[in-house]
Symmetry: C2
Subunit: 235 residues, 2 copies
């Protein structure tokens, strides 16, 4: 497989960075091609704005998604966006590798999505969810967080992690067509021993060795809804 790892951590010595390096090493050992977008190292600009388009459909009013659609047809995306789009298009598997900030992805990674998941290429019209532009490809999260395992789940203090991940796993990755694989989650990272972290890297290698057989998360398909996206079966 061609694999793209998008990595977002400000500290090169971080455990999140070690996860990224472990993935590069292990995936290459397994015979895959691996490319990396290290967003902090690239000084990636995460702010969606008018300068993202070298030519505008409507120069007087910025509707970002409409301009994405226009620019994707006219080859008028800014160079940094175009380069990332091509990396994503080439990849059979996309891995987002990040520390969880505020039950979500860091801003630099959020902005990578805002700017790179271009309307007209990733989605548009009825091309979303299982008909999204990236259908046939896989995506997976690998992330670190401060909380412990028991703080997540139904009835737990933060609620279920599955729910917390809805915007990124369902609303973003599944929305553009990806089959979303079971994430790799490293809990309580800042507070555990060096040995426990080393074990996590071993666990991550095993997770990656199993990548072709990892279960994917079930999401609705367009076939369950009518033309106006009302559910076909309300029972």
């Amino acid at each position: 497989m061609n694999i793209l790892i998008v990595h977002a951590h400000p500290e090169p010595q971080s455990f999140t960075n070690a996860l990224k390096n472990t993935a590069i090493e292990e995936l290459k050992k397994l015979g895959h091609q691996v490319e990396v977008s290290d967003l902090y190292a690239m000084n990636f600009n995460p702010v969606a704005c008018a300068a993202d388009f070298t030519e505008r459909g409507n120069p007087d009013y910025l509707n970002y998604a409409l301009e994405q659609r226009h620019a994707s047809k006219q080859h008028a995306l800014a160079d940094d966006i175009q380069a990332e789009v091509e990396k994503v298009q080439k990849a059979d598997l996309l891995i987002l590798n990040f520390p969880m900030y505020w039950m979500s992805i860091p801003a630099i990674l959020k902005g990578w999505i805002d700017r790179v998941f271009v309307s007209g290429i990733f989605y548009g019209g009825k091309r979303f969810y299982n008909h999204g532009g990236m259908s046939g490809k896989k995506a997976m999260l690998s992330f670190t967080l401060g909380g412990r395992d028991h703080m997540f789940g139904d009835g737990a203090i933060h609620g279920s992690l599955e729910n917390i991940l809805i915007p990124i796993q369902r609303g973003t990755l599944a929305y553009v067509g990806y089959e979303v694989l079971t994430p790799f989650i490293a809990y309580h990272v800042p507070y555990i021993s060096h040995e426990a972290r080393e074990q996590m890297l071993i666990d991550y290698r095993q997770h990656l060795q199993n990548i072709e057989n990892l279960p994917s998360i079930a999401f609705p398909t367009l076939e369950q809804f009518d033309d106006k996206l009302y559910p076909l079966n309300q029972n």
Copy 2:
């Protein structure tokens, strides 16, 4: 009340901007003090990084939350962060006003949270949820989106909006202590008539006129959990 509106839209002629202007006008008319952080106009930097601290607890390894804690004690936060922290501290009500991007907030607003919701001031140790640093204050979302009302809810194509908003309403605003008020949601904005949009602004005025009586969203309290954050009553 002192009210802070944090606004994040790249187009000054946008309907999201009209919501912000409507809120300023209506809230002032109701006798409140209103301050605005217009993130695009401020060219706000959303990327959490080492330069956010003028002095470091550990100059050799960046643990962002630990450095926030250190810097908040040593008055060593970067000026742009310090200015925003002071605006938030002064405000009895915080309104986040934005277009929904990828079932979430735009990166520039995500980065405002990543950088401004400083550990040691907003939360830390056992100061979170109903004991968070902003407890006693209120927060509210006002946002625009492309989807229609019927596309959200249990069994709907995108699932429930309440779930989609968990990272921001529960994992962020409630986490730091805010009482989270019922959001104002403008559906299907790019596709509706000018008249329908005008009606939405009227609806928003009414929402704001009722701000002191708006229901707030129920979240768990620390008193429902033990010292290690296991639920006290598992039934």
